[in-house]
């Protein structure tokens, strides 16, 4: 790790001000991605703004027909929250599938979506449920927020403050874990709200999380796993690596999507 100056932020304002004064600073949330990356010297921010003590960035709240999860809320808190379990049980389940118990005690939803790892779980839920990402500056639809591998629409001087999930009638996330890293080899999130169905895929896209629109059309006509029979996805748009070829991932997407629909 290269040397850095550590700033313990006391509030969102304080964090943004500190960022403004130190252009090349980075926020430290749970550190479960950033610290390993810094150890590998793949990141070397000269300033770290630690959000760990910013109370206003923690918490889960149901506001009418939406669920608001603040950025520094940990995966463990989402997985065990009664509010999340009754609002959208599949989202609590998803959080409980991230990494391992110790990772879930530190990793946060804000860190996960800001990082936008192509194998991360939350981005799939955000896309399928049509979440809104709230920052200190604006509100962004998930579709506009995730812009590619490890990249988002976040600008300089912008901090994610919360994620808002509208209610869906049905939601299920099915994940095929990489047995070593525990990230998704393929994860498929399916959401149904009224007549609209959305299917989001993580772990597989060569450009990160994406919506599988062909499956959405079939499922809109008939929300049954049999509707996906015979539907395939072009491996050319997928990512192949030592863990699995593109073709293997294409196959897994079909299997995980059917399981998600059957269990939704």
């Amino acid at each position: 790790m290269y040397a850095f100056t550590h700033h313990l932020a006391s509030s969102v304002d304080d964090a943004v001000k500190t960022l403004g004064a130190n252009g090349d600073a980075k926020f430290l949330a749970g550190g479960q991605t950033l610290l390993p990356t810094m150890k590998q010297r793949l990141a070397a921010p000269p300033h770290l703004i630690d959000l760990g003590k910013v109370k206003e960035l923690r918490g889960i709240e149901v506001q009418g027909d939406k669920l608001v999860i603040k950025a520094m809320t940990r995966h463990y808190d989402v997985a065990t929250s009664d509010a999340v379990k009754s609002f959208q049980p599949g989202l609590a389940e998803l959080a409980g599938l991230i990494g391992d118990p110790a990772v879930r005690h530190r990793g946060t939803i804000g860190g996960s979506i800001a990082n936008n790892d192509p194998a991360a779980d939350y981005p799939a839920a955000c896309l399928a449920l049509g979440a809104t990402i709230v920052t200190n500056k604006r509100r962004l639809e998930a579709e506009k927020f995730f812009t590619g591998l490890f990249s988002t629409a976040l600008e300089d001087n912008e901090i994610v403050t919360s994620v808002e999930f509208p209610k869906a009638d049905k939601f299920k996330y099915m994940k095929f874990r990489n047995p070593a890293s525990r990230y998704a080899m393929v994860g498929v999130a399916v959401a149904k709200k009224g007549g609209e169905v959305r299917v989001a895929v993580t772990g597989a896209g060569s450009d990160g999380v994406f919506r599988w629109t062909a499956a959405e059309e079939k499922l809109t006509q008939n929300f049954d796993k049999r509707a996906l029979e015979g539907l395939s996805i072009d491996p050319g748009t997928l990512n192949g690596d030592i863990h699995g070829s593109r073709e293997y991932r294409a196959h897994l997407i079909g299997v995980m999507a059917k399981r998600a629909v059957a269990a939704a």
Partner: protein, 164 residues
Amino acid sequence: MPTVTMNVNGRQRSADIDPRTLLVQFLRENLRLTGTHVGCDTSQCGACVVHIDGEAVKACTTLALSCEGSNVLTIEGLANGNELHPMQEAFREHHGLQCGFCTPGMIMTAVDLVRRKGNNLDEKTIREELEGNLCRCTGYHNIVKAIAAGARNMSSMPQSKAAE
């Protein structure tokens, strides 16, 4: 150098540290509490698991400065004087270790698991919950047995002790 202050195993500890200092380095190098191990240093193996404010975390993936004002419990703080904690005793009794390198992390993870899931743990739950702890020796079988037994024996502990 900035100063960090935290409570470790019931004692207030304070030191001037390089901001890069990981919690595990602070424990091992500043405080000489070498029971917490570094296996992988890449957040995978769980040999470094300690409790921060009662919850299991990987001390190799936490900055010491982030623990300002926190309560940290390490394997050294688990026993009651000469009397082993029930989870430690269960690992001894059931041969839950061979070389012992992974053991502090296994035990700290197991105690946290009992806090979250109670005293009656089935094999499937224990194996799932050990997702983040690797052992190169035992094949896990006796670790799973030890945790089930330790969890049961923790039910006779006074509440406050069991929660630590």
